[in-house]
């Protein structure tokens, strides 16, 4: 299943990549593959921008703006007047 703007903010700097494969390991949607000892984005449209790859990239080669894809969190943050960082306080 796919949603809107999946993976829009995912950026991989192949020049920095050391090919360790952590991004491929942690990605729950198989967005990455290791090709010729470098990570490559093979399925950007599956990315839900969870940020696991960025978090575990030891050389900082990955950028992605992550947050909760939750309309309830966004609507309640609109009520508070702060939509910059919706948080899922429902648990």
């Amino acid at each position: 299943m796919r949603y809107l703007r999946n993976g829009a903010s995912l950026v991989l700097d192949a020049a920095l990549c050391n090919g360790c494969g952590r991004c491929q390991e942690v990605c729950p949607h198989a967005v990455f593959a290791i090709e010729e000892r470098k990570a490559a984005i093979i399925a950007r449209e599956n990315c839900m921008e969870c940020g696991a790859c960025r978090m575990n990239c030891i050389v900082g080669a990955i950028q992605v703006s992550s947050g909760v894809g939750c309309a309830a969190a966004l609507v309640s943050s609109m009520r508070r007047g702060d939509t910059a960082n919706p948080s899922c306080d429902c648990g």
């Binding site: 809107l4 829009a8 903010s9 729950p28 696991a52 703006s65 939750c70 969190a73 948080s87």
Partner: protein, 340 residues
């Protein structure tokens, strides 16, 4: 799965300092089953916790693997039920009773908590090896290399689903590509539906009170037609809260609000054929039903495994004004229809 009355049963309660090792059974008893059912219906959902710390399953010794998990009891149950007959350590983090995925997103299933919990439980003394198995969905909150740097423990990301843990361990801590993928099948969606429905009674009750008041004011009496008048709204809630999650991949369009509107339109079409309705009443009720199903469908975005924040921003920006407009016009028309 027995009734758990035997000596195997272990209560998951605080037994002292957090460095103490406690035993925990891999058997799930009727209390666990009942407890799981209750939290799915939203009863005490935020208080269903296990004391953080190091737990021994079976005859775990200094060479046994260490599995890390969250302290939401539903999560702990899902893990330990898969470990029957095995000897492993369970390092339960303090995630404030939140599951792995959501706690990792908040950062409370995070690097700092892993490091602190290792130290608080004296894990270095308990096991000789320096390997930790974390659930893959915890990776959003944990930087494996920082755990290694701070504690010497190497993080191995285990499978997404607890049911794959035995196979993962048997394969020498190697996950197949399937174990690494998040799926969101109809069973996964079905267990989430009670939590969608339990949000509805209050607004539904308010709607019922308004409808009854209007009918009493208009006709100076309350007839049995209030039941058929109210039925569409109950059906709308069940459509938005149960049918949409269940049929999610089958419903057209990517925005959830549109999926909800499609389901609402189909269901309302059926109601229109079987219930007696005037034109004004039909338009008013129809708009309200669509607003309810769209809104509830949109609220389900947060329960899924594939939505993004940037996508939700787009959806809410366009759908919310449309839903509120439809609800407003629908309410006025439906109210007016009572007096005609």
């Amino acid at each position: 799965m027995g009734c758990g009355c035997g000596s195997q049963r272990q209560e998951l309660v605080a037994l002292g300092s957090s460095s103490e090792i406690r035993n925990i059974s891999a058997e799930i008893n009727w209390r666990d089953v009942l407890g799981g059912w209750r939290v799915r219906w939203g009863i005490g959902r935020m208080r269903y916790r296990v004391d953080p710390g190091l737990y021994r399953i079976g005859q775990a010794d200094e060479n046994s693997p260490v599995l890390v998990t969250a302290n939401y009891k539903l999560t702990v149950d899902a893990v330990r039920r898969e470990l029957s007959g095995m000897s492993v350590w369970l390092l339960i983090l303090d995630t404030k009773g939140v599951n792995v995925w959501c706690a990792a997103g908040k950062g409370i299933f995070g690097t700092l908590e892993v490091v602190n919990r290792i130290r608080a439980t004296n894990l270095h003394q308990v096991v000789k090896h320096r390997r930790l198995v974390l659930p893959q969905l915890g990776a959003t909150g944990v930087a494996a290399h920082e755990v290694k740097r701070a504690t010497g423990f190497t993080v191995y990301y285990g499978p997404v689903r607890a049911q794959d843990i035995p196979e993962y361990l048997a394969a020498g801590m190697k996950a197949t590509p399937e174990m690494r993928r998040v799926t969101f099948g109809w069973r996964d969606r079905l267990v989430l539906t009670p939590n969608e429905i339990v949000q509805a009674p209050k607004p539904l009750l308010i709607g019922l009170v308004i409808l009854v008041l209007l009918e009493v004011i208009a006709h100076r009496r309350l007839g049995s037609e209030v039941v058929t008048d109210f039925l569409p709204f109950v059906v709308a809630v069940l459509t938005g809260g149960v049918l949409v999650p269940l049929l999610l991949p089958l419903l057209p369009f990517r925005p959830f609000a549109m999926k909800g509107a499609v389901a609402g339109a189909v269901v309302f079409g059926g109601l229109f054929l079987v219930l007696p309705m005037g034109a004004l009443e039909a338009v008013g009720t129809g708009l309200l039903v669509l607003a309810i199903t769209s809104y509830m469908a949109m609220m389900f975005t947060g329960a899924t495994t594939f939505t993004t924040l940037s996508g939700v921003r787009v959806e809410v920006r366009y759908a919310l004004p449309a839903i509120l407009t439809a609800a407003g016009i629908g309410a006025v028309l439906r109210g007016a229809a009572v007096f005609i």
